[in-house]
């Protein structure tokens, strides 16, 4: 399935871009699975997404936990713990 993935703050700086459209294998439909899939792209990605860092996720602009599932056409965002206010 195809989804849009967005990156923010230090994650955006590490991957060096802010959004991309990705085409996922059918088995990748949870945040956890997507993190594993991204972690296999290379060292930078492994550092970010293999679990050493806390990376929060949102699906279609709502905060979710790692067990949440997404569907084709969804917007998934990854970012560090928030620090506003």
């Amino acid at each position: 399935m195809q989804i849009k993935v967005l990156y923010f703050a230090r994650i955006k700086e590490a991957v060096n871009y802010s959004s991309e459209d990705v085409d996922l294998p059918e088995t990748v439909e949870t945040i956890t699975a997507l993190k594993h899939w991204l972690a296999q792209r290379g060292e930078v990605w492994a550092n970010l997404f293999s679990g050493k860092l806390v990376v929060r996720a949102a699906i279609n602009h709502t905060l979710v936990d790692d067990l949440a599932t997404f569907e084709s056409g969804d917007e998934v965002a990854f970012f560090p713990p928030v620090t506003g206010g």
């Binding site: 709502t62 970012f79 928030v82 620090t83 506003g84």
Partner: protein
């Protein structure tokens, strides 16, 4: 907790994310106006400090997730309005590059009685700090760094999950 003893007023909630500064006096005046059921207004203003985690701060840049930010702030305000007998709620959060002494965020809550207004205002700030998609980067003359999330903020938010006050 919503025990209105007076005719129900339309409850207003305003959520804004903006680059421009805000005028607290003006916002407070707009919340007061024509609402003789309001007995209490609690407001919170967050400001840029010149020191954070023992490092000096020259600029503070706030990044956010535009499509999500206002929606997330609105959800926090909705929760507060469901949980306490409050009236109007205003949340204004700035983004972009700020410097020490600048205002970052304003939360204003009005209600008939003070306890609901105090609790709701603190609740909104605790949730905003841990749920709303903002990220701070600080610079000084030597370096720049992303601000780390604080466990004290997580603890502050967690308090509300076990109490109803």
């Amino acid at each position: 907790m919503r025990l209105h003893s007076f005719p129900l007023l339309p409850v207003v909630s305003v959520v804004k994310v903006q680059i421009e500064d805000f005028d607290v006096g003006e916002v407070l005046a707009s919340v007061r106006r024509d609402h003789p059921q309001i007995g209490a207004i609690v407001s919170f203003v967050g400001l840029v400090r010149d020191m954070n985690d023992h490092q000096s701060v020259t600029t503070l840049t706030l990044e956010h997730y535009p499509e999500m930010t206002e929606k997330s702030l609105q959800a926090i305000v909705d929760q507060a309005q469901q949980r306490w007998d409050i009236m109007d709620a205003v949340v204004i959060h700035r983004v972009g590059t700020l410097k020490p002494l600048d205002q970052i965020v304003l939360v204003v809550i009005s209600s008939a009685h003070r306890q609901a207004a105090f609790s709701a205002c603190e609740f909104v700030m605790d949730y905003l700090k841990t749920q709303a998609p903002f990220w701070k980067k600080e610079t000084n003359n030597e370096s720049e760094r992303w601000v780390e999330a604080k466990s004290s903020d997580d603890q502050a938010q967690a308090r509300w999950q076990s109490t109803r006050q």
